[in-house]
């Protein structure tokens, strides 16, 4: 698939693009109409204690928007990362906002009041200017997802253009269901970092087509590492989120299917790892979505 030509052809331009929306608007669109209520918004002014020490101007919401509302009438909370600020990287405050939202949703769920959590991942991972605190809060986000998804699906959306990388890619993989656009990418190490650490023969970060072939939304859904492939359309994505909740909590989450994935890995020939070979071996989303599996 040639991403460049898709984006150049005007008649493919989405009229209700989700990608072009800022994080706040994305959160608004994913919640039922007129139910959006932001928590710790810009006027609460909880900002990074660490960026000003380095001469970096803060964003008043630290790049994470948390909003309550309803989804299909049920109480919900959406955490959307603003990639325009510091690449969506996770700092102490932005990560704590996401973790706190999940922890409070968990508290409600434990009390019998289900809250539907959605995370819109648009992030390069840890904010290096806050290094160890970014890493720590990501661990807290991960802990909250594992606890929360016993009660309610935790739904992740990866729309692009930044995608979901670093420690937050692990959080995405813990989600019950992942919705991705073709423009979205999901990977642990950014292509630039791989090229830098392993050399350009390992991965040429400027080869956009190859990058998307390996870790883009279409490939991830085709190999079962994400669940739903959607067009870049706010209504379509909203519908996919609602469907993800309607499908309920599965018996086994993708990140729990240990024996399955060890078995698949053992069938891989490391010398010939290609996107096509992986599709053939791993199968598509339909082979593991909502399956009631007893083996792990």
């Amino acid at each position: 698939m040639n991403l460049a030509s898709t984006m150049a052809a005007p008649h493919f331009a989405a009229t209700d693009s989700f990608i072009e929306l800022a994080a706040r608007e994305r959160a608004r669109r994913l919640l039922d109409a007129d139910t959006f209520r932001e928590l710790l918004g810009p006027f609460d002014r909880i900002t990074s204690p660490w960026l000003p020490l380095q001469g970096i101007v803060c964003q008043a919401d630290d790049g994470a928007i948390v909003a309550r509302g309803t989804i299909d009438g049920m109480p919900a909370v959406v955490a959307a990362i603003e990639s325009a600020f510091q690449g969506g990287s996770i700092g102490e405050v932005s990560g704590s906002k996401i973790a706190a939202a999940l922890e409070l949703a968990l508290r409600d769920c434990e009390r019998g009041k289900i809250v539907r959590p959605v995370i819109v991942f648009e992030t390069g991972g840890v904010r290096l200017q806050e290094a160890n605190l970014g890493l720590a809060v990501i661990a807290e986000i991960q802990a909250a997802i594992v606890a929360l998804r016993r009660y309610v699906p935790v739904v992740g959306v990866i729309a692009g253009m930044v995608g979901c990388f670093g420690g937050m890619s692990l959080a995405a993989a813990l989600c019950t269901r992942l919705i991705m656009t073709r423009q979205g990418r999901l990977g642990m190490n950014g292509p630039e970092v791989i090229e830098q650490e392993a050399g350009i023969e390992e991965l040429d970060a400027s080869d956009r087509r190859r990058i998307w072939q390996l870790i883009g939304g279409e490939q991830r859904v085709a190999t079962g590492l994400a669940d739903t492939l959607v067009d870049d359309d706010a209504q379509v994505i909203g519908a996919a989120v609602r469907a993800a909740f309607a499908a309920g909590v599965p018996d086994v989450h993708r990140s729990e299917a240990v024996e399955r994935y060890l078995s698949l890995l053992s069938g891989v020939t490391p010398e010939t790892v290609t996107p096509e070979a992986m599709r053939a071996l791993f199968g598509g989303a339909s082979s593991n979505r909502d399956e009631r599996r007893l083996d792990r």
Binding site: I46, A136, S255
Partner: protein, 278 residues
């Protein structure tokens, strides 16, 4: 394994703590075994170099594809075994991981999911009541530490050269931020979360104990015995505490250095229910 290759710290500490227990033939890259920890059995897990790993970019002490899934298996096996037991045994993560594996195969085949599987397993074990204790004996870096150690109830570290916690290796971070290594070090002196020193990491309130006076590369029997006792005491203490990570924000250290993390939670809780909007 080549007998003339020096043991990695993970290997050395696994052998010291879990013994060369007869019947345990640890298989690289994940060494795990059940061994006594004072008066109970504990599972010890270490990530070790694997020169024969099928994936060429995952042969050092890193968390790659096989490491992630095998860590998950090592943890889940003990969770399943103790599922009906009155007492869930402690799990000790011996942490010596320089990072996640970097490679196109890793990305293609979903290393993010492999690491998430390990996160999931450790978190689930903790929620099931297993005291999880991470013992940092070398580097505890980035996604590898997220996968192996950071979901623990308690985190301990040897105060020794070569132990560190960080989101990215110094040289790589210097390249990415376009600074020199010396500049990064200087930043770390005033900006605690950016520091590479364990003493600074301890100020974040995440480290339960920094164990000094131990030779991380060649510990004496006395030093091993001391660490073993600390592990046992820590596991016992963890068993009495919460099974979530709330304790990390519940200390004077955290109240000082992670005031913002605490404030976020306090104020979001106040706004959570309608009537108190932003």
């Amino acid at each position: 394994m080549n007998e003339t290759t020096p043991l990695s710290r993970g290997q050395r500490w696994f052998r010291a703590l879990a013994g060369d227990a007869a019947g345990n033939a640890p298989v690289s890259p994940i060494w795990y075994a059940d061994a006594p920890l004072c008066d109970e059995s504990a599972r010890f897990i270490a990530v070790v170099p694997d020169a024969d790993n099928r994936f060429p970019r995952a042969r050092e002490n890193v968390v790659g594809l096989e490491q992630g899934w095998r860590l998950a298996r090592a943890v889940r096996e003990v969770v399943d075994a103790d599922a009906r037991a009155e007492r869930r045994r402690p799990i000790v993560a011996i942490v010596d991981v320089k990072g996640q594996a970097y490679g196109y195969r890793e990305e293609t085949l979903g290393i993010h999911l492999a690491c998430a599987a390990a996160v999931d397993a450790y978190a689930s074990a903790r929620l099931a009541g297993h005291p999880i204790v991470a013992l940092i004996v070398g580097p505890a870096m980035s996604g590898a530490f997220l996968a192996h150690g950071y979901q623990a109830n308690r985190i301990l570290a040897l105060d020794a050269p070569g132990t560190m916690v960080h989101a990215m290796g110094k040289e790589a971070a210097a390249r990415v931020t376009r600074r020199c290594v010396e500049a990064l070090d200087a930043l770390g002196e005033t900006i605690t979360p950016m520091s590479y020193s364990l003493a600074a990491f301890a100020k974040l309130g995440l480290l339960d104990r920094l164990i000094d006076g131990v030779d991380a590369d060649a510990p004496t029997d006395e030093q091993v015995a001391r660490v073993r006792q600390i592990l046992a005491d820590t596991a016992a203490s963890a068993r009495c505490g919460p099974s979530d990570l709330s304790r990390r924000l519940d200390s004077d250290t955290a109240r000082t250095t992670r005031a913002a993390s605490i404030e976020v939670r306090r104020r979001m809780a106040m706004q959570w229910d309608a009537g108190e909007s932003a």
